[in-house]
């Protein structure tokens, strides 16, 4: 009996929450709020809330209704939540997605319903290539691009051999493929570790150290990155084999590293499309407002999420809030005319940005806070290598 009442209550609840108010634009945002990766989602959430606040809660005359859902770091949960956003909340845009596998699992639910899908982080190769869709846009990058830039940096630095250590999952394999695509030296070893369970890299570090490689290249997002840096240091490899990384050191990790006084991270180099000191008007506005409101530097995840909101705003503004004009909204987004933290960029036909990539390094700012700053520009207007497979 209780069950029946509960179900009935549930349906009542649904009817309350499911009704769409006229005069509002609904934006669903999928990210990770639980598990240790929840810290990334928290940073993204801060950024989109800041963006909406700066917009005065309005886009094209409509009230913004943000619905944020937690994917629990699992693709099937992410898909369930996406289905809820699409079917129950009837959102106009679905944005977010930290993880490639969650995005891949969820894309069909959004795109089949004719909604716009905005990736604020994940950029798996199929979505840029054979699974590309006219309603998909990214405010981040395709997975291969950042490590391709790193491969180029290694060439410029005349590093003759590297040892690669990365997690054994799809994004990990994309990243490794990316660096191998451009790096011209010798790859003396490659270890793909268990993901996300493995946090102890003693065996891999010992192999890398014995391999005689001139440098180590890693990709470890989230807590594994911190663990790797510590163990690299504890193994005494700093000063012996330089460590290059992508998506491993960000403002979230740096706060933790500084608290633990891990001096070895200072000077560490990585590639990225963005840095807090990138000199564009929108970025200055974003970074100073973020620091003022939350007291920390934003991460690149936050920067991308912030851009997602302004991309959506450009679409809603273009049609003055008439959300039925899908084609006009799509054209507005395609033109990439919104103010982006990365400055001016364009979109490829697969909805992936064609943009600059920079080499950045960890440094102290004027207040002694650890952050990253741009060292040099590696790529100008770089496009992902999968766009050729996209037949929209």
């Amino acid at each position: 009996m209780m069950i029946k009442k509960l179900l009935a209550a549930g349906i009542g609840l649904a009817m309350m929450t499911g009704t769409a108010l006229a005069g509002e634009v609904k934006i669903g945002f999928i990210t990770t709020l639980t598990t240790p990766a929840g810290i990334i989602g928290k940073d993204m959430k801060k950024a989109i809330e800041l963006a909406v606040e700066q917009m005065g809660g309005k886009m094209g005359g409509l009230d913004v209704n943000l619905i944020i859902e937690d994917d629990g770091f699992k693709p099937d949960i992410g898909k369930q939540k996406t289905d809820k956003l699409v079917k129950q909340d009837n959102v106009d845009f679905v944005a977010g997605y930290i993880w490639s596998h969650v995005l891949l699992a969820s894309r069909k639910s959004v795109l089949d319903a004719g909604k716009f899908l905005i990736s604020s982080n994940a950029g798996p190769s199929p979505i840029a290539g054979k699974l590309c869709n006219k309603n998909f846009f990214s405010t981040s990058w395709q997975n291969d691009q950042t490590p391709m830039a790193m491969g180029e940096v290694l060439n410029q630095k005349k590093v003759k051999s590297i040892y690669i250590i990365a997690p054994n999952y799809a994004a990990g394999k994309n990243i490794v493929a990316g660096v191998e695509r451009t790096y011209k030296g010798k790859i003396v070893g490659r270890d793909m570790t268990r993901w996300p369970q493995q946090l102890d890299f003693s065996a891999e570090l010992a192999k890398a150290s014995a391999s005689g490689a001139e440098a180590i290249f890693i990709f470890y997002p989230g807590k594994a990155g911190g663990a790797f840096f510590k163990q690299y240091e504890q193994a005494g490899l700093r000063g012996k084999i330089p460590l290059y990384s992508v998506f491993t050191v960000d403002s979230i990790a740096l706060g933790k590293f500084q608290k633990a006084n891990m001096q070895g991270v200072l000077g560490s180099q990585m590639t990225n499309f963005w840095a807090p000191d990138l000199d564009t008007p929108q970025n200055k506005k974003f970074v100073s407002a973020f620091k003022k409101k939350y007291g920390t530097y934003p991460s690149f995840y936050a920067a991308q999420s912030y851009d997602s909101m302004f991309l959506i705003k450009s679409a809603v503004d273009a049609v003055n809030g008439d959300l039925s004009k899908k084609d006009e909204m799509r054209a507005a987004m395609r033109s990439a005319s919104f103010p982006s933290v990365r400055g001016k960029f364009t979109y490829g036909k697969n909805g992936m940005p064609i943009q600059n990539f920079y080499l950045r390094e960890v440094t102290k700012d004027a207040d002694g806070v650890w952050t990253t700053r741009i060292v040099s520009k590696v790529y100008e207007n770089h496009q992902d290598p999968y766009v050729g497979e996209c037949k929209p």
Partner: protein, 318 residues
Amino acid sequence: MPPFIQTAKIPMDLTLLTIQFMNGLQLGVLLFMLAAGLSLTFGIMDLVNLAHGSFYMAGAFISASIIFWTGSFVWGVLLAIPLVGLLGLVTEFLVIRHLYSRSHLDHVLATFGIILVFDSLVHIFWGSNGISVPLPVWLDGQVEIFTGMVFPTFRLVIIITGLLMAVGLYILVNHTRLGMLIRAGASDRTMVSALGINIQLLFAMVFTLGAVLAAIAGMLIAPITEASIGMGGQIIITAFVVVVIGGVGSMKGAFVAAMLVGLIDTLGRSYLDDLFKLVMSPGAAETAAPAISAMAIYILMAAILAVRPQGLFPPKVR
């Protein structure tokens, strides 16, 4: 794409083999600290405690906070131990105590509930970011064990601590009155209660001892991997594998199995790809090696149980 070149010397490099052996040993002693308590509660109280890993996590977080508060790693560990002990006692009193007379299925359900509660509490008190725990300078370096062989000091400390604790447990179990009761309990529970021993007190002590051992393991791993939510859930499965391979309730079994699992896991990660390259194409080896090395300990367990359904060292009279 540049050609993938495998340096031929790796498989035969003795220094590297020794280092990997020690890395395996370090994982082994860590697993032993977890498995010891698990095996005791299993063997004596017949309790399937999925929440054992929660004490591992609690140890890491509590010690991390005290380390930042006092600025001393040693004080952090020493002060955290009684706190975790108290946590163990309270958990035993509130929940575990009521489970002894119940079925394994009830244990699984209730202790899974405990995991959810602990994980949520850590999320509420410490946030989801985890804590990177700094090491004092004297522990943060490396030692040269012999020429050309450098090993992180702190990992060596873990190995030594773990081995000392194993010796301590050996003495406790074999040469004290408490140990006699523990041994008797592991082989025949009804006999111990027939002796007029305060079973409730004995059980609470054993449970707390196990919780503290797990928490110390967590405190020791935190400076290497950080303290993070869910860290217990990941390692507890491996600890269960150790207990089952060794034989439920057997300290000797837990020790042997922990070393076996630690070495197989580490050496698998180190050498399996090279081994596979001898018999298959490099591409296939690179795909297969991580998969098989991840499966290795489960394959080992299934194989051992298929031949010896009670594990390697089942306690006598069960």
